[in-house]
Symmetry: C2
Subunit: 262 residues, 2 copies
DNA sequence: CTGATAGCTTTAGGGCGTAAGGAGACGGGA
DNA sequence: TCCCGTCTCCTTACGCCCTAAAGCTATCAG
């Protein structure tokens, strides 16, 4: 599920995203607000962190706040806007200062690992549509952080743009694999290993001659399984995904270096 | 929306995925089937191609076939399984033979462009969860195709595994950006340019001092806009996404080359 | 005190996936 | 020939989703 953002009138969305902590709070008729946008957004984030994007419904958020789902519409125009606000708020967790004393490659490595772990802390972020930038303050800030590192490479703007995209795609994809691997067993009630075993046993039975039909894949799986340790207690798929992340990151950094060298 | 696959009993799923064109078709009591799994899958693919994954409902597919939504459950155990079948069927479109006469880099470049365009032809494929492999014949085949190219590099299996992942993440992410950029205006009734203009105008008004707060981003956007041609009739965001794809691909290939040399 | 207003609720309408039960068509055995 | 078991397909129904609309009530300005 890619969750699309709200597109009510631009002015209201932007005001919500960029609202500065509290604008004087004049006294007005009617009951005092029992909730606040911040409270709602925080609650929604906690819910999404704990139970995933699929469990994020207006009713569920309302319930956590002791209100009906409809109560939220007083503060937030739609679920889409709420997701935008969650997204931009949570991006604020990302570190912003990566010193360049040790060179851009070291900084970029740390940045990538930080970002990767951020995605794993908030897997639902990976389901927020990237169709169009949300244009919130923290989105700007996180982009600023990355671009600052990359300017150290001396590459021109179009190339930096391409690298920015590639890094984000890589991180989102890689983290997405791990996070879905983690959540799928929970969703289906079958553990990783069990699922894998059941499927591959059935597969051999139903589709014989796999090794002959797909020799390169067979080679890859054989060689991978052979070098795969079982000491760390991680599920099979997650361990492989982590290794792939490190390998892929190294390849990417090499690629940037080669591009810089020109 | 990441669509999770079905996980009915493994045997039935696998049988559906690997079923060989027609197993004798014995005569049985009861009315003749008016539909078939193939017909349903093809119809569902056509629907998803035309109107996106969000429009793919059992009712909608049934309607296209002149049946109720529930009629499909005679052929397919659940929507999840249907999505698996769609996914594996459509993967069959991918070319499989990339000669290595011109070297792996040339082959990989063509492969990447082919795959990228495949994703743009079937954007809904990007919304199919990658949590666990579907393990259908065409998934195997497409992986086989890529691994065959990559074995030419002489890299070891773990590294090839990392590169495979990185390439897929990059392609899926990059194509996803373009496809969402394309579908979002349709979904919201606002064109790309309009949306962008409205947002950035409002942004400048509501969040002044952007350039000072985010100088690196301002530099990047200024420099990009300056070099951006307007001759090809493509919407702004799509043109940029295409350029980023080519840049990113070059960086990645350079990275693989460096790793090989490494 | 009065009237306007804002917070919140309930109701309702149009989606969704799918469980359950029933109608009718058809082939095979008696 | 007739009946019965089986199979396709339908309708109904449940519980979830987002959100429009209308109504209740607490609160404040005048």
């Amino acid at each position: 599920m890619v969750v699309f953002a709200g597109q009510g009138d631009a002015r209201r969305s932007m005001a919500l995203l960029w609202r500065s902590a509290g604008p004087a709070e004049e006294s007005r008729p009617g009951p005092k607000p029992g909730l606040s946008v911040d409270l709602i957004v925080d609650t929604a984030i906690a819910l999404a962190d704990a139970e995933g994007m699929a469990a994020l419904s207006m009713r569920a958020v309302g319930e956590r706040l002791g209100r009906s789902g409809m109560a939220l519409y007083t503060y937030v125009p739609s679920k889409g806007e709420l997701v935008d606000l969650m997204y931009d708020r949570v991006l604020g967790e990302l570190p912003t200062g990566y010193g360049h004393e040790e060179g851009w490659r070291a900084a970029l490595t740390v940045w990538a690992r930080d970002t990767w772990e951020f995605y794993l802390r908030h897997p639902w972020v990976l389901q927020v549509s990237q169709a169009r930038p949300v244009l919130g303050p923290n989105e700007y800030l996180s982009l600023e952080t990355l671009v600052r590192i990359l300017r150290e490479t001396g590459l021109d703007a179009p190339r930096i743009r391409g690298v920015v995209g590639t890094l984000f795609h890589f991180l989102r994809g890689s983290a997405g694999t791990v996070s879905e691997v983690r959540q799928a067993p929970a969703a289906t009630g079958v553990s990783d290993e069990e699922w894998w075993l059941a499927r591959s046993a059935t597969l051999l039975e139903i589709a014989p001659g796999l090794t002959e039909r797909f020799p390169a894949v067979a080679w890859l799986e054989g060689a991978t399984a052979a070098t795969s340790s079982h000491d760390d207690g991680l599920p099979y798929l997650e361990r492989e995904a982590r290794k792939s992340f490190e390998t892929g990151l190294a390849v990417l950094l090499d690629g940037i270096e080669a591009t810089v060298a020109g």
